[in-house]
Symmetry: C2
Subunit: 485 residues, 2 copies
Amino acid sequence: MTHIPLTNTFHTFSGALNANTDLLPASCGEEMTRGFLQELVDILLGFICKSNQRSSKVLDFHHPHQLKEGLEGFSLDLPDQPETLEQLLVDCRDTLKYGVSTGHPRFFNQLSSGLDVIGVAGEWLTSTANTNMFTYEVSPVFLLIEEVLLKKMRSIVGWADDEGDGLFCPGGTISNLYSILLARYHFYPEVKTRGMGALPRLAMFTSEHSHYSVKKSAAVLGIGTENVVVGLVPFYVNATAGTTVYGAFDPLNAIADICHSHTLWMHVDAAWGGGLLMSDRHRMKLQGIERACSVTWNPHKMMGVPLQCSAILVKKRGLLQECNKLGAQYLFQMDKPYDVSYDTGDKSIQCGRHVDVFKLWLMWKAKGSDGFGSQVNKCLENAEYLYDQLQKRTEFELPEHSNVCFWYIPPSLRSLPPGSDRDRRLHQVAPRIKGRMMEKGSVLIGYQPLGTKVNFFRCVFSNPATQQEDIDFLLDEICKLGADL
Amino acid sequence: MTHIPLTNTFHTFSGALNANTDLLPASCGEEMTRGFLQELVDILLGFICKSNQRSSKVLDFHHPHQLKEGLEGFSLDLPDQPETLEQLLVDCRDTLKYGVSTGHPRFFNQLSSGLDVIGVAGEWLTSTANTNMFTYEVSPVFLLIEEVLLKKMRSIVGWADDEGDGLFCPGGTISNLYSILLARYHFYPEVKTRGMGALPRLAMFTSEHSHYSVKKSAAVLGIGTENVVVGLVPFYVNATAGTTVYGAFDPLNAIADICHSHTLWMHVDAAWGGGLLMSDRHRMKLQGIERACSVTWNPHKMMGVPLQCSAILVKKRGLLQECNKLGAQYLFQMDKPYDVSYDTGDKSIQCGRHVDVFKLWLMWKAKGSDGFGSQVNKCLENAEYLYDQLQKRTEFELPEHSNVCFWYIPPSLRSLPPGSDRDRRLHQVAPRIKGRMMEKGSVLIGYQPLGTKVNFFRCVFSNPATQQEDIDFLLDEICKLGADL
């Protein structure tokens, strides 16, 4: 197949074209609309292709003040008068130019990475359809797609066919917040009307390495961060399947046993690890997840779905509705001419809700369950390859119990004995290498301290574009950038 | 300018093309990626153009069970094996076909409507950039765009240059939730660690017609819905600028006086009405908004920005950070090689946060502040025109104090005296007309009961595509569909 380059008819007309007068819904705006969007698509296609070229930079870094001052005519200011369509296209080009290529094979910085073409296609369609998840009347197809996806995900988790409920929501933190909200309501339904003042002092359990969203939700919900972990009346246990830094898994069956004998709500935060459920080879890491009362699972992480795509799955049917409904009749009329149980608006703590499901559905169609499984396997093979390389090379050290986190030890530190002096100096290595990396734009990887461990790199694999050569490049680049530290 | 139709080179090759093997990041996937996305864009352009044709249907309604059974080969099921790229394009076409054209000039159903081409372009770019709002290192341009937009919006609200803070968040309900969360923290910072158990029984005030999100947030935050409105220790007043049904405005200055003398947090829910701030002619309806402690403003409503686009503005600088930060060092490192005050992740109750700002920024560039003002004025002119027409025509009645809500009175009811019998029958008129409307797909408008008033239509104007002829069409269509009731 050959690509036919777009003819530049648009440019020749665009001296002072104006979005308000020349694009749809203006009469006769159709041709100009097609021309403008085609130009944009050419820019976007260029960006997508460039993101996949290893020779291109991962980012073209500038400090905030540099971008704010305006670079080569790129101004962030909001004008009183319209800009021309031509200028808007330049703005689009500049926005991508000064941004970060999260789809680049050498972008390792976040749990979400990669640029799935089908996922992008799904998002383009979603934004063109421009509708809202609250009622069937404005989102018939998307609501059914959500139902199909949630049902599939619940069956993958291991719940029975007629069990469970769920929602897609804006990110894993909100999914986790739902789990606590529902657990609290499940044990103390009076909290909805009477508030926390009517309840005993509650406590929640979670591990040290669990995501901060558990504590943050405790603050938001009026439980208080102090009441996470310690004594009092326990009602909720968060088990993490794939911690943020180490990618570690809590023992789900053991936790489920305890929750069962003490009648506690068991939530599994599988925001990151949920993707492993798609893999026959790796899903045993989540054994016991089927015993959870609720599960957070973010397809936008290990499954490579474009942001945002995060689900909360709930085993007890009807609880989402009971807990969150306010029965606002003026929005959710019961006398509508269709089965209004498909109106999910009152189950949510939001009102309007973005369509996050279509891209996942389209990707599922494109890959099949089997294809998703292979993709996840590939991510884990990359992690294993990195681990092997790190073991082989003397410039690196690994924190215990981890296969994706590591220190680079510069030559000047290699002969130092372990101790606080070495730690103090090692702590500065990762930030300095990262700074050089960002300036150079060759690769991007995250770092952090954790507990008593000084700053170390964390390498995350969720990008299907990443190959072994990129991992080799990463290690070589770190050595190159850190040799003089 | 002439539109060059896409050549169908893609089709001739697409017998069994597979997303996993033939698109990027597969090697040699570039041409096929361009071809596939071009095909998709052709489908999307077709949808955009059709949405703007009055002769096309607003929706092609099917009941849930019909869509689930599969229509002419449109299957929602998730396969184990990949579908071909060809089939995925058919799926995309079908998804749009069975959906709702929220951009159609005769879609009056929701506060958010219209399909702004520049906004769509902004969303296409956003999803292609596929990044996250939590740190400057992965979202440099988008975070600065957010800063520029929030600053502009605060200055339009009327706050001083160095005053205020804010965030874009997933919808107006979450924006309103933030306002209560911040107010509670402002007066009782110990709530964050110790929970509601450490506080006196709090009360919040809001009006009967305010959005249900105020009550819902009270439930989520552990305050309890019973504690909205009544006695106890008041700390928070919600004033609505543009109620959901009537579009009514609370007297902001009078409420500000009371809040000032009792040291209460004043929040203005201007999710719907905030757009009027852009209009010199109408912004006086929000006089006093500059005295608020926090403001919810959804550009995705009256300003016609694609979903979702909602801001919470906060007058007190630093409060968002203080209230929500957990200082998760492993995510928000302080030793990064740039000014980390641009990392907004710890201000938010989310962790990852979708990029909702670029489309608004691009639209602002495209229209200028003046253009947004004219667009808002046009919406209000449409409302005035509808009001005039309703006054002139005997088939309609209006609830008091409203210029966009109305009953259609079928011939059989016109001679009936006011009273419960007439009310009972009138209550069924709007749902039945709506049902016929949905079947026919000619126009879409919402209805609801409110207080003692039986079901009435609510006509909302936020769609710049809507002209007077569409309003005439709406009224004629209602008369036609309801004549025999």
